[in-house]
Symmetry: C2
Subunit: 231 residues, 2 copies
C-alpha cells in the first residue's frame, strides 16, 4: 500500500470529547435542565443547521454562529429564561474548550513525527485554534470548512485538503470516529482510518464501533493508529 | 496600553531567512549563474507578480505558482538551458525549506506561552505548513493570503485575522521586518511590532532597520520582543 503524506483529522468526537465538557457547562449555567438531554439536543441540532446553510436557506455561518443559533432555540425549548448575553456567549464558547480523549495528545505527537497532521473539521478556524491551545493538540495546520466555504461531507472539503498540499487524494488519509465522514472521504479517493470512540455520546450510551471492513485502518485509539503505522 | 490577544507574523524575512537558503539552492542547480543576483531578482519579482494578480491581469495564483512563473522567466533571462522539470520543481520548492533566524524558534515559543501566534503571510498554506515542519516553527495556526483570496497589503488580510478570531483590530498585533506591511496593518487599526533583520538581503547588503517611531514595538529580534512583552 502507498503511504499517505497527510493525515486529516475530524475533531469533535474523534480527537476531543464533546459530551462531558458540554454537559458540565450546561449544568453550571442551567442547573434546572436535564443537562444530558440538552447536550445531546445541542449536538443533534448541528447537522440540520449545516444542511440549512448548504441548501442556501441560511447564509454562510461559522460553527460558532450555528452553535449560538441552536443554543438560543434550546434555551427557549427547555424554558431557560433570563440568562445574560455574557453567560450565553460563555456557554456557547464551551465548544472551544473541549478536552482531548486520553490517547489523543500522545497519538498526535507520534503521528506528527512522520506525517503532516491537520484538522479537517466543520469547526471554524478560531474555534479550532483556541481548542488546540486548551487541549494541547500539536497540529501542523488547521484546515476547516471555513476555508473551503463548504461543510463536510461536501467533496470540496476532502479534495480541498489534497489541493492545499498539491497531493493526489490517495496521498491524504481522513481520520474520524464517524463512518459517514469516512465514506464521503473514500468516495473522493482518500484513504480512511476509523477510530473507535464508544463513549462519544456519554458513558451510559455506548456507540456501535464495529469494523465495517471498508476503511484502510480501524483503530481503537490514535495511539493504536500510530502503532499500526509504525511511528 | 491594552494588550493584544493574537500576534500575526509576516514570515519571509521576518521569521525565516530566505536569502541564504535560496542562494545555496540556486548555486547547487545552476552553478553557472551569479547566485546572488539570481536570488535577489527572484525575490524582487514577487511584488510585481502579486500586483498582476490583484489587478486581475493574472488569475488567482498561490505563491508557489508565482514563484514558478518568475523562476521560468529568470532561467531564460540568465540563459540557463536544459534543466529538467523535476529539478525546476525542486528548485522552486526551496521556498518551503527556508531556515529560521537564530532567535526565531525560541522567540516564538516564549510568545506562544501567552499569545495566540499565527502567520499572516502571502505564502500559501501548504508552503507555510511544510516550512513550519522544516524550521520547527510552533504556530498555533497558519493564516495566509490563500484564505482571504487577497495578498497583503490588502486590508482584507489584516482585518481577516481579526475576523477569524472575532477580535477588534486593535487586539491583533502584526509582527514584521517590513515597514510597508506594518503601515498597512496600522491603517486597519492593528498594533504593530517591527523586527530588525539587517541581513535580510544578505550579509553584504545591510538593510536600514532604524526605528521610524510609528510602531507599537521596535525590537532587535523575536526574543527581544518576548522580553518587551514580559513573557
Amino acid at each position: 500500500m502507498s503511504q499517505p503524506a497527510v493525515l486529516a483529522f475530524d475533531v469533535f468526537g474523534t480527537v476531543v470529547d464533546w459530551y462531558r465538557p458540554v454537559c458540565a457547562e450546561v449544568r453550571r449555567h442551567c442547573p434546572q435542565v436535564d443537562a444530558d438531554a440538552f447536550t445531546l439536543a445541542w449536538r443533534a441540532g448541528y447537522q440540520p443547521a449545516m444542511r440549512r446553510v448548504m441548501s442556501g436557506e441560511l447564509p454562510w455561518m461559522t460553527v460558532d454562529e450555528l452553535h449560538l443559533l441552536i443554543l438560543r432555540e434550546l434555551l427557549q425549548r427547555f424554558q431557560v429564561d433570563g440568562l445574560e448575553e455574557e453567560t450565553i456567549a460563555r456557554l456557547n464558547g464551551v465548544w472551544h474548550r473541549l478536552d482531548p480523549w486520553p490517547d489523543s495528545v500522545e497519538g498526535l505527537r507520534r503521528l506528527k513525527s512522520k506525517y503532516m497532521i491537520c484538522t479537517l473539521s466543520n469547526g471554524n478556524i478560531g474555534l479550532l485554534a483556541n481548542m488546540a491551545r486548551h487541549a494541547g493538540l500539536p497540529w501542523d495546520c488547521i484546515l476547516s470548512a471555513e476555508i473551503f466555504r463548504a461543510y463536510k461531507p461536501d467533496p470540496a472539503t476532502y479534495l480541498g485538503v489534497a489541493g492545499i498540499f498539491r497531493l493526489a487524494p490517495g496521498e491524504v488519509m481522513m481520520v474520524a470516529a464517524h463512518q459517514d465522514d469516512l465514506a464521503a472521504a473514500r468516495a473522493c479517493g482518500l484513504k480512511t482510518a476509523y477510530i473507535e470512540r464508544p463513549e462519544e455520546y456519554g458513558p451510559r450510551r455506548p456507540k456501535d464501533v464495529s469494523d465495517n471492513g471498508l476503511n484502510t485502518f480501524h483503530a481503537g485509539s490514535l495511539v493504536s493508529l500510530a502503532d499500526m503505522l509504525g511511528v
